[in-house]
Symmetry: C2
Subunit: 208 residues, 2 copies
Amino acid sequence: MPFELYVDSLYTSPYALSAFVALTEKGLPFTVKTVDLGSGEQRLAAYAGRALTGRVPALVEGDFVLTESTAITEYLEETFPAPEYARLYPHDRRQRAQARQIQAWVRSDLVPVRVERDTETVFFKKPCSPLTETAQQAAAKLVHLAERFVQGPQHLFGEWSLADTDLAIMLSRLVRNGDEVPAKLRDYVEFQWQRPSVQQWLARHQPG
Amino acid sequence: MPFELYVDSLYTSPYALSAFVALTEKGLPFTVKTVDLGSGEQRLAAYAGRALTGRVPALVEGDFVLTESTAITEYLEETFPAPEYARLYPHDRRQRAQARQIQAWVRSDLVPVRVERDTETVFFKKPCSPLTETAQQAAAKLVHLAERFVQGPQHLFGEWSLADTDLAIMLSRLVRNGDEVPAKLRDYVEFQWQRPSVQQWLARHQPG
Ligand SMILES: [Ca+2]
Ligand SMILES: [Ca+2]
Ligand SMILES: [Ca+2]
Ligand SMILES: [Ca+2]
C-alpha cells in the first residue's frame, strides 16, 4: 500500500523535507499531501484528529498515522532495512548514535537561528535582517560544531545519512542568506543540496 | 567499563533524567557527574570540548562521548538489547514508532509550557505565575493529546517504556504545580513518578 506524506503547503519545513528524503531514498511509493500551516489547517479536526500532534510531517500507512520526522524516519529504516533498501542511518553503531545526536540537536537547540533564519525566508530568498546578538551566538555555535562534525566536502560518516541532509539544511539557513560561513561548510551544504532526493523536494517550490 | 553520565547539578533536566532512567533500567554500572548549568560550566572547554553540543546529558564510554538524550537511549537500547537487558522501547514496531513520536514531541513542541513550568521550579515546588494565554493553549494541547495517548492509569504500551517517563515528566510540570489536569492523567503521572528508577533520580535532589 503506498504511503501518504503530509507536508507543509509551502514545502519549507526542514522536518517534512527530511521525511520526504527518507521515503525517496528508500524508493518507496508515496503521495504527497499538503497542509496549509498559514491558515491553521493543521489544527482542524480533519488533520489533527488523525495526526495527533497536529504537526507536519505526518506519515500515513492505512490506519496508522505517525508524526515527528525522526519517529517517521526510524520507522522507515526498521520497516525497510538495508541492504534491500537504501540505508538512512550509518551501519556502525556509534556513527548511528552520532547521526541521531545531530538530528536531535538541530531540532532542539539553536532556536534563535531557526527563528531569525526561518526556512521559508531562506528558501524563497527573501531578505533577512542581520542576526541579533543572541542569534549570532547560536550561529557561531552551529558553525563551530559543524566544523568539528564535517570532515570533508562530502558525507559526515563515509556514506550519506539523513544527518547530512538535516545538518546541511540547518547550515543552509545561514549560507543561502549570505551570512558568514567557512568555505568548507559552504561546499558541504552545496554538495548535500545537489542530492537528487533533496532536489526533488526543492523542485516542488522552485518554479525555475 | 562503567559509563559516566553527565547531568545538571540540580538534577532537574528531564532529558538527563531520561538518560539516567535508561541506564538504571538496563542495570548498567555508571557514575553520575554533574555540570553546573547556572554558572555556564557546560560551555567551558573541559565539558564542551568533549560533549560537543555543550548540553546535558552526556554519556561517556571511554573515548566515546554522546549527547542528546534520545541518541543516548537509542544507543543503550541497541548496545544492551532485550531480553538480556530491560527494554526501553516497545517491542512492537508501530508502538515503538509511537513511543519515539512522544519523545520527539515533548522535546520540540509546547515551548510555553516548558518555559513557564520549568522543571527546576516545579520539582522544587517553587510558586509559579498563572500560565499566560499562549501557555494555556499549549497546556490544553498537552492535556488533550495525553488523554488520547494514555489509555489507563499505568503504561502507554502495555508495559513500561521510556515514553511513559518522558510524557509523565512533561505532565508533571502542570500536575505538581496544581494546574488543572484530569484525574486520569494525574493518576498516570503519580504511577510513573513512583517507578524506582525515577525515584532514584529524585532522591538526588529531594532531601526528605
Ligand atoms: Ca491540503
Ligand atoms: Ca518556516
Ligand atoms: Ca561538576
Ligand atoms: Ca530547568
